[in-house]
Symmetry: D2
């Protein structure tokens, strides 16, 4: 079994992959294969070069990881099966020199935005060199190209560096959600605390989006993300990404998805999977109320 992840070694994504292994979701002996970006990882899944890809989809500070969703949009025939939530804590690491001596710091540009206040306070004037991943920045420190890297603490172990400062993010308690992407297959069984994701395009009619979202709202299905993305077919045409609480086998979700299928131009189901963090899922109707409604309908159809 082969699992793609955003490399090189030492990234948060690799840590997520290990967490999936620790929990027994994927085999402890699975081979981890570093990809350059989420698109490559998802592409490998579709091309059957790997069995699964571990990719970030949402960050509590920066929101949805757009490149991952774009990759899922491009790679027709893939699906999400599982998720984990990890606390994201940046450490500053060097080959030994302290924060005061450092002249150049490298990290991924997104990470750089999250530690700027810290740097302004503790290392004013330090030069920033952009890296393609946080782990790549740690590797660049090891290779002597820059003095400091902002990366997950365990990247220091991977590349033999010393942690100069820990937990340097400007917004504390940031978390990132990672998912396992595989080829299309039967979703995991519903657990009562699940998440589903779909992408769709709509016919260009006034009110089409509100009407589509209404399919969820009227059935008490909660949305946890909505995003319009360009379709690349021209200005003013959009693809919508929506994450919902619930499983495709839950009656309200099932009905809402079917109604959305009818109302949309295209609809891609990205999977139903157990939610990592247990959020209270508000439900408009109890399971027994829903069962009662089915019973009533059947009785009326049969004249009982």
């Amino acid at each position: 079994m082969r699992i793609a992840f955003l490399g090189p070694r030492g990234t948060f994504t690799e840590a997520a992959l290990h967490e999936f292994q620790r929990r027994g979701v994927i085999d402890a002996n699975a081979e981890a294969v570093a990809a350059a970006n989420p698109r490559e990882a998802v592409h490998w899944v579709r091309e059957q070069q790997v069995d699964l890809a571990c990719v970030a989809i949402e960050n509590s500070v920066d929101g949805p990881v757009t490149p991952t969703f774009d990759a899922l949009a491009e790679a027709d025939g893939v699906q999400i099966y599982a998720e984990v939530d990890l606390a994201i804590e940046f450490a500053l690491m060097s080959k030994g020199i302290g924060l005061e001596q450092a002249k150049k710091i490298s990290t991924h540009p997104v990470a750089y935005q999250q530690i700027r206040q810290y740097l302004d306070a503790h290392a004013p004037g330090i030069e920033f060199v952009a890296a393609s991943s946080n782990a790549a920045a740690a590797r660049a420190v090891a290779e002597g190209e820059v003095d400091l890297a902002a990366a997950p603490a365990h990247a220091a172990q991977v590349y033999g560096l010393s942690v100069v400062a820990d937990q340097v993010a400007d917004v504390p308690d940031a978390r990132t959600r990672f998912v396992l992407v595989g080829r299309r297959g039967k979703p995991a069984a519903a657990t009562g605390s699940d998440r589903s994701s779909v992408m769709f395009t709509l016919h260009n009619k006034p009110g089409a989006l509100v009407s589509a979202l209404g399919e969820f709202a009227m059935r008490g299905v909660d949305l946890t993300r909505i995003e319009s993305r360009p379709t690349r077919r021209g200005l003013g045409t959009y693809r919508f990404h929506v994450d919902i609480l619930g499983h495709i086998n839950d009656q309200p979700v099932s009905e809402a998805l079917r109604a959305l299928y009818l109302a949309s131009e295209t609809l891609t189901f990205l999977g139903s999977w157990p939610a990592a963090s247990i959020e209270a899922i508000p439900q408009l109707y109890s399971p027994s109320a829903l069962q009662a409604s089915r019973d009533w309908l059947d009785a009326m159809k049969e004249g009982k």
Copy 2:
């Protein structure tokens, strides 16, 4: 087999009953039993004193026949099975004297409103005596109580009267829809041109009615009547009567009714039956699109 109708003999409702017999909907030998009003007729059905009741439900000039719907609301456990549409034409009839000599005219108050312009023009100043049905007015002419009756032309035959003037209604082409009411049972098979009717009460929440009606609108199910009626439980509480195009076995109707069941406080299904007049039924989705949506949902649930 016994069928109740609004009596006495000679009413439009009796004509409707004969039309049902002519079409083979009810047996030609069924016994017709005259009731004093729609409530009595429907009550007899519920009490198993008759098998069916033939009652008027809608008039193209005066709209829904409220007493019929109130009777259906009271008589839990009854259901509509069939309908016919009849042209309603009033004739003026007497024992022989002409319009000019007549001093008193009798008819049902509702019918009187529909011929007032005619009377103003042709018999100004004639005295009106209210009757409990048009046929009862014809009978009153035969019994010498009044000079003229406005009633269906065939009431003249029933009571041995002469038609003095025909087609005297102020609004021409009026039609009335009559239905057959029986005890709860399996609806007739869907024909593709059906009508259904429901009554419901809602929890007292802002927007509850719009939300309930939205269950139909969002599924492309057309309403042909809506009416709020007092529940008699107090001011400001209402029972809603809604007629729709479609059959409970049609997927959009079925789903809308189930959603309405979930959203409403009480819901009474009054039946699905073939529509007498073939109206074009606009459908938001074709049967093949609906089937495609079911297939898609099944495929996603199975991971195909």
Copy 3:
């Protein structure tokens, strides 16, 4: 000043007219003019033969008084200005004989439906003779045509009859709402507890009704009545009657009416007037919240 009412003397409508006088809404010396039905009364207003018409519009047992609303629909250019609520209590009255001796009872057919259980229990088998109004039935007793009348107790005084039984309605505590109709003019000032009424027809589009009602729901304006009525232009075309809580000068009502004007084919405003019975009017937004929203909008437009 001349005020039309449903005659003859002794009707509930005449009692309502006196109540309007008692409260000072109309002059104590105004001349009361008996009309044969609500349509005639409203027609006289439009034709300037009277200044106002006092007509029933809603009964807590039987719901809206459809002939009144149809009369308002026909008589373009009239408007409602005030209302009173009266308890409706039927008394049985005769020229002296008791309930046991009576052979014929007369009343309006609608009233007859409301006392049938009483008659079944206390005067089984009594013959019913329909009258055009309850007071007309009392007059018929005085003239010796029938033995008993079911009418307002004060009709006994008017026609010199004895009350044989009082409060004989099957459903106790029935109330009827009466309104004063005049020619189009500026509505009475908003009191914070007002009622408004409109009639409209819609373009024949799926979901048009739900969308129209949504204009009220989304602004927190409560509907207290909705009714579809035939337009008489052909089957399947409807005119909708809607009563709402609030005044045309209230911001949410004002905006909803304007939006309804845009969305409807025709829209007739039937007036805003003080509500007789003080019902709690649920409001989605407080007056201060509404003012704050206006202030915000103005500030944004001016860049403040």
Copy 4:
């Protein structure tokens, strides 16, 4: 006058700033001040260190520029006043060596994703070095740190480089929209082809988002972007960004914004400004219909 832009010299943002000058939107002598990222540029506006900031907000390939919107969300009290659309064409540039000899290429990571197919075909195996902006990559070529940069063609002039290949983007015809951000003030006059932008948070109620978006849909106001962003107050709380077609002074936009103000927890108005590219703006109601609705409402209020 001082205008901040995403530096260093040679970025697309600088080209957009020059386009604003060419069109006379900003003075030709205004001083351009390079910022490190959109947040810094917008922050300077708020702190009155510059008068305006020129920032990218949307790309036809990658969609909304999230950092810009996040910067606007943080910097309360700023507003958008104008926009331009620029074609985005990447050129490859060097100090003289050809594509075949180049070993390292630098550009912004987002740009790198847009030229990967080209590089795979024409320079397979070339090493990628991330830069904080495309112009920074060009400068790095000039300083001898890398061999090639992917950047706007005019960056070659700025840094004295040769263009090795032009128009190398994988998706042709990409365009980016840039805006001018200033401190809160009165919006530019409506032109009939305007754009507006708002951000809001909602009370946590089922259906709140659909209801909020419905305020636009029901008034025929088209949305061109919708995005949910984390509020950083905790999981499951969102800030919504919505772009619409129309101006705050247009009646439907004005009413929708006011209704949104009432329905939302917080609402930030980001401005109304002339749209650069003239898109057909579908309107549910014509200006004359809207005027007619205002006239009708006024007439009803005055009883005319």
